[in-house]
Amino acid sequence: MKQMKAYVLAGCVALLGMIGSIGCVSTHSAPVDRRVTVAPDVSSSVWVTDVRYGQGASDHYTLQANVVNTTSSIQKLKYRVVWLNGEGIEVASTTSNWQDISISGKDIAGLKAVAPIPGLLDFRIHIKAGE
């Protein structure tokens, strides 16, 4: 009986340990936003942690994608923001051109863009390695 109790207790402890360890597992992967595309050669070095947008004082939406450099060295990147209308067709904008940005090691930078037309909110962000 005592032995059985010991086995049950051990089993409960093991089960609790397993449940606890599930919550502690670190995925080491970037949050997923389907509107963001990061080139494979930099996807392990930079993560887009979140994308925020707001109108502020304007009726044009301003978006900011926060990018973290997970390495210790400077990351030189290029990014572009493509705005899409209601039919999913690209709207011409200066932000559609590739822009350069450098992020220091272990630092965060905000990639900003303003919609070319009031009320436009659908966008895609592309990030690739810079020179």
């Binding site: 304007s58 200066t94 932000t95 051109n97 070319p116």
Partner: protein
């Protein structure tokens, strides 16, 4: 004599082939994926970055939004090129005015501008035929049709050359643009964008 001539021809031919192989072939610039290095002067990549920063600042400011939603009428004022380079400042303003027009916030007038390049002479020419019996007068623009601008876009591009300790040259370009309310004289918006270059002291920048 024949040997000399033959030798001369060989040398000339070899020299020609060598020089032909040293020339750079002409290619089109892939503007979507331009991997060429930076240049000391202002190139289209710099202008793209400048106009992008300017547009983002202007649209985000909300200053061009009217309560009734109607667009402003804007004229292109003087954009001074205070650099050693000869380039048309319209290459800077053209992209900006295109974006502003597409945003629906602004309409650019061709009836009044600081330079003739931004004025359309046909506006005056079509009015010169008033009273001319050859033209159907109902199709000729009547008086009082032109809209006066209420805003003006003007600015300056400044260049500053600095000698570095190692003998290299640092070139600083400052792009300054502003929008002025022509009714009150007040500046509604202004922005300065900096573009910096470092190059060998012997590199020409014109």
């Amino acid at each position: 004599m024949k040997k000399t001539n033959w030798f001369t021809v060989m040398v000339a031919g070899a020299t020609g082939l060598f020089l032909a192989g040293c020339t750079t072939p002409t290619t089109n610039i892939d503007t979507h994926n331009d991997t060429a290095g930076a240049v000391a002067g202002i190139d289209y990549r710099d202008l793209r970055r400048v106009t992008s920063d300017m547009i983002n600042s202007l649209l985000a400011s909300g200053r061009l939004t009217r309560p009734n939603g109607t667009p402003h009428v804007m004229t292109i004022g003087k954009i001074k090129n205070d650099t050693t380079q000869r380039f048309d400042t319209d290459t800077l303003t053209a992209q900006i005015t295109e974006e502003l027009t597409n945003s629906g916030k602004v309409l650019i007038t061709s009836a009044m501008a600081a330079t003739s390049d931004n004025r359309d002479e046909m506006i005056t020419t079509t009015r010169s035929v008033r009273g001319d019996a050859e033209f159907n007068q109902s199709t000729v623009a009547g008086q009082g049709q032109l809209l006066a601008p209420t805003l003006s876009l003007s600015g300056k591009i400044i260049q500053k050359d600095i000698a570095m300790d190692n003998g290299d040259k640092q070139i600083e370009y400052y792009f300054q643009l502003r929008i002025t309310d022509l009714v009150t004289g007040l500046q509604w918006w202004q922005k300065q964008v900096f573009v910096g270059k470092r190059t060998d002291r012997k590199t020409p920048i014109w």
